[in-house]
Symmetry: D2
Subunit: 157 residues, 4 copies
């Protein structure tokens, strides 16, 4: 079975985040990875468009119970009907998680991925977390660009 | 986006159910439909093998939180970690539901599909339901073979 | 921790089903059992009212993401936001499942309870299931009245 | 129906976090609130013990599919079988969310509560989040002690 990489990020994103997500999707599809995302706009649409541009398979795991708001570049849209509980599914499906940009929903995915703890979690920009002493709790990898994000996943060593 | 058809059935199945599921998968992929299934053995493996034989995309929506028990013919395996609550997702993802054979898990998917009520539900063999007066509650379509099952979905009229 | 019994049934029910559900709730609360139900109308409201009349704790596990449509007699309302996937939770929470009346949603709960297979499942009326040979697949217990339903759970032997 | 308040926090906690959680539970039960928590150890056990000490109703929404690891002070234990997807349910059930201490699982609950955006979210200590400019994204309330946490929920004005 193909490698599966989940790419998370906000529905509303900056142009730079769009570019990062698109390029991440393009590179992942080029490596033969299946891309999993939330299936809506912003970073989710960008990674789907990027993966689609390279002929990749992209799955949108939707919060809604139907596909009416799904993005146009998905190979498959899975309307879970679970609301934000679906964020856990996006994380469970991944051999690595790449996070582009920040929002509360995105942070919940980052946190769920770290809670799961089985696969690399790489951030491209986005929000930061510090513990009570002001120190990062550790474990999240930080990349400067999509190529480094793929490298940090360790999936293609 | 492609048409999506969910095919449900037991993990342990008869040879006849295997053949029906394989042929259903093959015909669906031939029509360009994405096939959704539970991702494990029996009917689920048969429909995946059939769809794969025709070059189709098959998604296994797994009850477990990891992919270790997923079948070999899936394009994508989504380990939901939801247990049997994932049956509702298989149903939500579908433009039509085809049920091959019977088991309690399969019946839960049939019942959830009828409860949802938005798309055709077609049975190929399997268990039957009757109300307190001994009458079928109505609405389920019954097909004698895979070709008729596809026809009864009404998706390719 | 207290014994927990889930009582399932349709949102629209007959007067006889209402009476059965109310009496089932009353008897369960009298035994000190926590009653779990779907939290809306019909059989769900009847069992909540019956349990409440005996001072019992009743939990409504709602399909919606908020409590706006929850019944008035619940001690706690849990708006899961999972849609019909919540039916699996109602079943998982139970030391025994009692089913009053029939509907597709109710049947999905009965089937999920039998699929889980760990606790007694008792039907008071409602739909029946037969396999391809026309025989009941076995395992479901049938009670003529609420007192017999409690007895068949085997929880108070 | 009673006010419902969810209290989130790590399975392993400091003595100070235990005391804060216990006192929060005790105060909430004293106000007649139903307390919702994750149902296991650490902060979850402390808030359950505190609420129980005041005769309150405490619901543990468990990640597992059975109750074997549930804490001893729960009135009701709901084994969702959803894994960490159950964190979304804890958040959906609340008229206010109080977070005591920090961990990745706890942060996912904080983030899901902020993503939902409908009710006050109050932190007692724990991890902090900053956006790309190093500023807190806003909206989370911070309390110095349990009494202030209850006050900041605005539920008893």
């Amino acid at each position: 079975m193909a490698v599966q990489v989940s790419v998370c990020g906000p529905r509303e994103c900056t142009e730079r985040e769009w570019d990062h997500a698109y390029e991440t999707g393009r590179l992942l599809a080029g490596r033969g990875a299946v891309v999993i995302c939330g299936g809506y706009g912003g970073v989710m649409a960008a990674v789907a468009a990027g993966a689609g541009s390279a002929g990749g398979v992209v799955v949108g795991v939707l919060s809604a119970a139907d596909r009416s708001a799904a993005g146009p570049d998905l190979t498959v849209a899975l309307p879970t009907g679970l609301g934000q509980a679906r964020n856990a599914l996006i994380v469970n499906a991944a051999d690595a998680v790449i996070v582009v940009g920040g929002s509360w929903g995105t942070l919940s995915e980052l946190a769920l991925a770290m809670r799961r703890g089985r696969v690399p979690v790489v951030q491209l920009g986005g929000w930061r977390v510090v513990d009570e002493e002001g120190r990062p709790p550790g474990g999240v990898l930080h990349a400067a660009d999509p190529a480094e994000a793929l490298r940090l996943t360790g999936l293609w060593e």
